[in-house]
Amino acid sequence: MQDAVLLSRIQFGITAGFHFLYPPMSIGLSILLIYMEWKFLKTGEKIYEQITKYFVKVFALIFGVGVATGVVMEFEFGTNWATYSRYVGDIFGSPLAIEAIFAFFLESAFLGILLFGWNKVSPRFHFFSTIMVSLGAILSAFWIIVANSWMNTPTGYKLVYNVVNGVKIERAVITDFWTMVFNPSTMERFEHVISACFLTGAFLVLSISAYWLWKKIDVEHAKKTMKMALFLAVFSSLTQLFSGHHSGIGVYKHQPAKLAAYEGHFKTAPGNLYTFGWVDEKNQKVYGVDLPGFLSYLVFFDPKEPLIGINDIPPVERPGKPPVKENPPIQVAFQSYHLMVTLGLLMIAISIIGLFYLIIGKLFKTKWLLALFIPSFILPHTANMAGWIATEVARQPWAVQNILLTREAVSNQVWFSLIMFTSIYLMLGVLFIYLMFKKIKQGPASVS
């Protein structure tokens, strides 16, 4: 049984992680596409037409893989987490169904026009379709974040007990829809994820534009795309910082064990903010470079205010079950959280430097900066993965915070599917990268 839990967790991690490489690119790129197409509509210039149509094709590739890997997610709760599905389905199923009805239909229907409707509808209607695809994608992010946030800060529910065929069944049912939807962490996490998506799209286009400038491919096009991507990067890296801050405060309020895990905070005391470090879980120490009291300052605006240590968090009581006093894996939580924050700060720095060079008119000719930008698309992706690992690992051992343990939530037979997904996704990832690189080698002027 333990075997099935671990394998199912790994499988979910792989399928969700691989999937989450694509929607952020789709969402971020869709924002830039709206701007590109708007410029084309406004100015009528061929350069903007080429840029738009070029990135529509890039978008199609990304969206396609996103859909292919996304279908798996919809059903993986049923296949591998059947007990979870029975237990919280009354509540958790709704945002998923709503995501399909309102968001998936919207984005997929108008995608047809976006990709294939250029010669069939008016330019205005096509532009409207681009906006609808973006809206659909963002709505999709919203509803899935609603579901995931509910797992972390569940509200708007109650536990009920039924006896069916002589078997006592316990499950969670909804008491208030809007309380469930706007549970304590929904909005902060939604802001944070959307910022991350914008950032991912921005850096994708930044990297591609830098490559073109470096290789002197379609330089005029590249200058325009670089500029728009840079502005989005600066904007969203800063909003990311603020939403991250709000999320952090929220996490302390509702999931103190998580924040304690993030910073290796074992004993109740004023909290130190680590820039980097290594957690010695056995001796309950962190070796690293820290800013004393800074964590308390971020949460309370008072560096002397104690934060609860992970040792002092009371066991969770559940009616009819033994109390649970288990820590999440602290080292993993600490490292992934710090990786995310470091990358976030790095992205702010790079985008602001880029903006400065743009303002002084030297951006497109400064080789070392271009060289820095070319591989930078990897930064948001790594930060996204690190952030998700941090938040989902640090809520362990809970599948739904304080209600259902992960090991209670699982189904059964996992080796075959784990191997299948791993190998298929590896192959898919390689193919995707190959096709992207091939596309990028020709610039937008190749669009007729």
């Binding site: 529509v56 094709k57 590739l61 396609g64 893989v65 859909v67 292919a68 279908v71 919809e74 059903f75 709760f77 049923g78 296949t79 591998n80 059947a82 007990t83 599905s85 029975r86 389905g89 009354d90 199923g93 709704s94 998923l96 169904a97 709503i98 399909a100 009805i101 309102f102 998936f104 239909f105 997929s108 229907a109 108008f110 995608l111 047809g112 026009i113 990709l115 294939f116 250029w118 010669n119 069939k120 509808v121 069916v164 065929n165 078997v167 049912v173 909804i174 008491t175 829809f177 189904s411 059964n412 037979q413 075959f416 299948m420 898919l428 193919l431 096709l435 091939k438 669009v447 007729s448």
Partner: protein
């Protein structure tokens, strides 16, 4: 009418809608390797290009709705049918990727590979869904605690395989009619020529399947016996079957397509009526069946989701119909096509 019953109907509509719409995408996939030239294959993929993704979403929505309204059924079905379902997901991934990747590299080998993937994954999807449908009709072993009690091999019993074959033949015909409708010239003639033969194959299979059902699983049709008015459904199916050859020979492909859609819709309807009020029949031990009453979410959730559906589905229908209208007519390949 009780919410549970309303949701049974909504689910039938969602699965039925999926079968009709993604049905033609899958049917096109199934005949793909029968088309020989690159231009023919590009044409057929572009015939479904703008709409296949939104069609697939009907299945996602049906799955999500199942999760929200009947979470026990969602859990039992997907964990119980685990291995076939994973193969199904593999095929879904394969189909999506093959459509998107096929034309991206100008190499015959690359294109051929994705052509094979496109065709095989379409076959696999329909087979698995058809076999699952066969199991839904007759029932599967369920434990008292609602978990699946059988093995992988239980699912591959002969009746289920027969349902799979019948589904394959129906969907193949459906795809051919769609493609005949969307193409012109030589390609259209080539495809249209084979339609009546496909229809005959389907009809033979359907008759065998129907007889098998009634003879070997008489309990399945009890709802028809209680409410004979439902016999109108098989009557409509027969009517739809009869008119197709006439339409095909007169080149009225759009009408033939409507008739084909009708056949699929009525087949799903018959299955829905057969299993009502069960969703997953337990066979043996019918007292363990998952019904729309014992496997449902709370009334509150059903009501919330009902309101969501009342708002969301009409809106969706409006823009979907709008978009189908935009893409009506013959397939034309241009520089933005697949």
């Amino acid at each position: 009418m009780e919410l549970n019953v309303v949701w049974f109907l909504l689910l039938a509509v969602l699965f039925g809608g999926y079968a009709v719409l993604d049905g033609f995408d899958l049917g096109v996939g199934m005949i793909h390797l029968g088309l020989k030239s690159d231009i023919e294959r590009r044409t057929s993929i572009n015939a479904i290009g703008p709409v296949w993704d939104a069609n697939e979403v009907w299945l996602i929505t049906a799955g999500g709705a199942l999760f929200a309204a009947f979470p026990d059924v969602y859990a039992t079905l997907f964990s119980g049918f685990y291995t076939p379902f994973m193969l199904f997901l593999l095929a879904i991934i394969g189909r999506a990727i093959s459509i998107e990747f096929r034309s991206k590299v100008e190499s015959a080998g690359w294109k051929k590979t994705w052509d094979v993937v496109f065709c095989l994954s379409s076959f696999l999807i329909v087979s698995i869904l058809g076999i699952s449908l066969g199991n839904i009709i007759t029932g599967i072993p369920i434990y008292q605690d609602k978990e699946y009690a059988g093995t992988l091999y239980t699912l591959f019993r002969p009746y289920a395989i027969m349902t799979g074959i019948t589904s394959l033949l129906l969907i193949r015909m459906h795809g051919k009619i769609f493609l005949a409708m969307k193409t012109e010239g030589e390609l259209q003639q080539k495809i249209a020529k084979g339609i009546n033969a496909s229809l005959v194959l389907f009809v033979i299979s359907y008759i065998i399947h129907g007889a098998w059902t009634i003879i070997m699983y008489p309990g399945v049709t009890k709802n028809f016996v209680i409410f004979p008015v439902w016999f109108i459904l098989p009557a409509f199916i027969i009517l739809s079957i009869i008119v197709i050859p006439g339409f095909i020979n007169s080149r009225l492909y759009y009408r033939a397509f409507i008739a084909s859609c009708a056949i699929i819709v009525f087949c799903i309807a018959i299955i829905a009526i057969n299993i009502y009020p069960n969703l997953v029949i337990s066979n043996p031990n019918p007292e363990n069946s998952l019904t729309i009453f014992n496997s449902a979410s709370s009334t509150k959730t059903l009501m919330i989701m009902f309101i969501v559906a009342c708002i969301g589905i009409p809106i969706m229908l409006v823009y979907k119909i709008l978009i189908y209208r935009i893409f009506r007519g013959k397939v034309k390949i241009d520089n933005m096509s697949y």
